[in-house]
Amino acid sequence: MHFIVDVINSLFNPVTYFFGSLIGFVAMIHYREKWTEPQLALKILGGVVVALILAMFNDHFRDISTKSDNVPIFIMVFGVGFFTWLSFRQAVVNDRRLAQGQPPVEKETSDKKVYVWPDLVYVEFIATIVAGIALLVWSLCLHAPLEESATQAWTPNPSKAPWYFLGLQEMLVYYDPWLAGVVFPSLIVVGLMAIPYIDKNPKGAGYYTFNERKFAILPFMFGFLVLWVSLIFLGTFLRGPGWNFFGPFEEWDLHKVVVLNNVNLSEYFWVKLLGFLGIGLPHNPIIRELPGSLLIGAYLIALPPWLTKKSAFLMGLLERMGVARYAVLIFLAFSMAALPIKMLLRWSIHLKYIVAIPEVFFNI
């Protein structure tokens, strides 16, 4: 038993977790015809539930899971799982019909109009009652948490943001607060708002489909499932004291020491690469950070046009969307990709900052 627990713990680290969720996402998209079949979906659900019950035998995992404020996370994870299945199931069924030249299922009844009273009102009524009862039962069974009175005198470790912001807190590992806490959240909001103006695909309005809207659904689902929901799960169960990474069944050791020998790009460039010149780190921050600045500039300004020219697909996209829409799309896509890219750089070459000007708090 201990052996299995140790193996599972050792399998978990930020790298395997991220790639695991990425592979899971790719598999989910690729095998959507298979797992959306209700029978297989039920088996998967059963497997997850059994795994969860087994995991609950572990004291540490049970302690975290049953913290009353973490219960909503389970509801959220299972809710997102179920509704991902429901939407993909309907999309797969519709895609099969569309491939045979039939209209989507929704089309069969969309021309028929029904009276709001009673057809819609009773659905709302029943949904309200069911939700009301569920909320009552939840409230009767589970006390709202209340810890000791607030004090600045001691800081709990770990100090965690409310669960729905844990994805942002996880970003702080890789980016400074001005990016992870201010710029990226703003870009998420702006990016979500921009979706209807970027997505000019007239197909797939008013019914579930995947094949007709691949390039809208893929980035949205990647952001929602891989970069948002899975990071909330990670932040809740796998981040302990000092925001160190722990396996799901690993005791949160306050004294766990993790070597943080992260290195700035400027040091890589001036000390390691040009070390033979013996100049060392330049004192002028502008010269010191020139390589990193050029790299960021190349990523945001030079790479998109170059990629667009190279790729027939992107050229087609540019022609269909027009320059303004295309530029916004590419900027948002590159901003979103910035998180996984920084993760990879941190894990592979222990890169701390690409541009580091701590004098003016400008670190990327």
């Binding site: 309907q90 299922v105 709001v116 009673p118 659905v123 209340l146 000791e148 607030a150 607060p177 979706i195």
Partner: protein, 276 residues
């Protein structure tokens, strides 16, 4: 006099009215008519009247696409978000009866709610309802995305929806501080620390040190956006009052206004989405 009354009652008991007749008598009576202005809604005319003549129901159109009322299509998540908002408004008002947003009382008012109110689950209904609303709003957005319902002519209603999502998170976040326990204070500390790093507006943000007049910094620890948000250098009683007012007054008013626009535009943009 009494004899006459007794006779009348006997007569009534002898020919018992059918449930149908009772229903009709009520639905045709003056009281019912004065409230609803139409008979029981079981005829097409009265069903139309039921929606048109009711201030709450008239958010809906009279008729909707059949595909649009199916739960597998809508998941009911938009409606449930609204239901949870109403639930939070009612339970929130009840909680405000007991709660004083000061460092001296806040925590002990919450303790009193737990210890002294028999079967008191108002705080639970409010807290779990808030978590549920965050989840419901996410799932609503997920559904709207997966059905492509943001496509023209509904683009701007999606934008309003994104703002409502943000307001939902902010409502939940500001409410998180109010119990004034360790969980609350440090979650809000972690969350608001980011504000210090806001470019130009936070004193630890890039560009802030450039904003100087005659060598005097404009953005300092005592004048930046973090200070404005907290009413101090760290989470304190001033923060509690600010978050209380934002949580109970300002954000709900903004959210309710935007919700009205959101619902109205669902109608104006062609009702619930469906295939063309």
């Amino acid at each position: 006099m009494l004899e006459g009354l007794k006779k009348k009652i006997d007569e009534m008991m002898a020919n018992k009215p059918s449930p149908e007749a009772v229903k009709n008598a009520i639905a045709e009576g003056q009281i019912w008519k004065s409230i609803f202005r139409h008979g029981y809604p079981d005829t097409p005319r009265n069903r139309i009247m039921a929606v048109l003549s009711n201030v709450f129901l008239h958010l809906h159109p009279v008729k909707v696409r059949h595909s649009g009322v199916k739960m597998s299509y809508t998941w009911c998540m938009g409606g449930l978000s609204f239901f949870l908002f109403l639930n939070l408004t009612v339970t929130g008002v009840l909680l405000m009866f007991y709660y004083r947003p000061t460092a001296e009382y806040a925590y002990y008012d919450i303790v009193a709610l737990r210890e002294h109110v028999p079967l008191g689950i108002m705080r639970e209904l409010h807290r779990w309802g808030a978590h549920a609303m965050v989840i419901a709003v996410w799932l609503h957005m997920f559904r709207v995305f997966m059905t492509g319902s943001y496509k023209p002519p509904r683009e701007f209603n999606w934008v309003i929806g994104v703002v409502l999502l943000l307001l939902t998170l902010l409502l939940s976040f500001t409410g998180y501080l109010l119990p004034w326990d360790q969980l609350a204070m440090w979650a809000i500390t972690v969350g608001t620390n980011m504000a210090r790093a806001t470019p130009f507006l936070g004193y630890e943000g890039p560009g802030a040190s450039m904003l100087q007049v005659g060598g005097v910094k404009l953005v300092t620890g005592g004048s930046d956006i973090h200070f404005a948000l907290l009413g101090g250098h760290f989470v304190s009683e001033a923060t509690l009052l600010r978050f209380y007012v934002l949580h109970c007054v300002f954000i709900p008013i903004v959210a309710a206004t935007l919700m009205a626009i959101h619902f109205w535009r669902v109608r104006k943009d062609g009702g619930i989405s469906g295939p063309l």
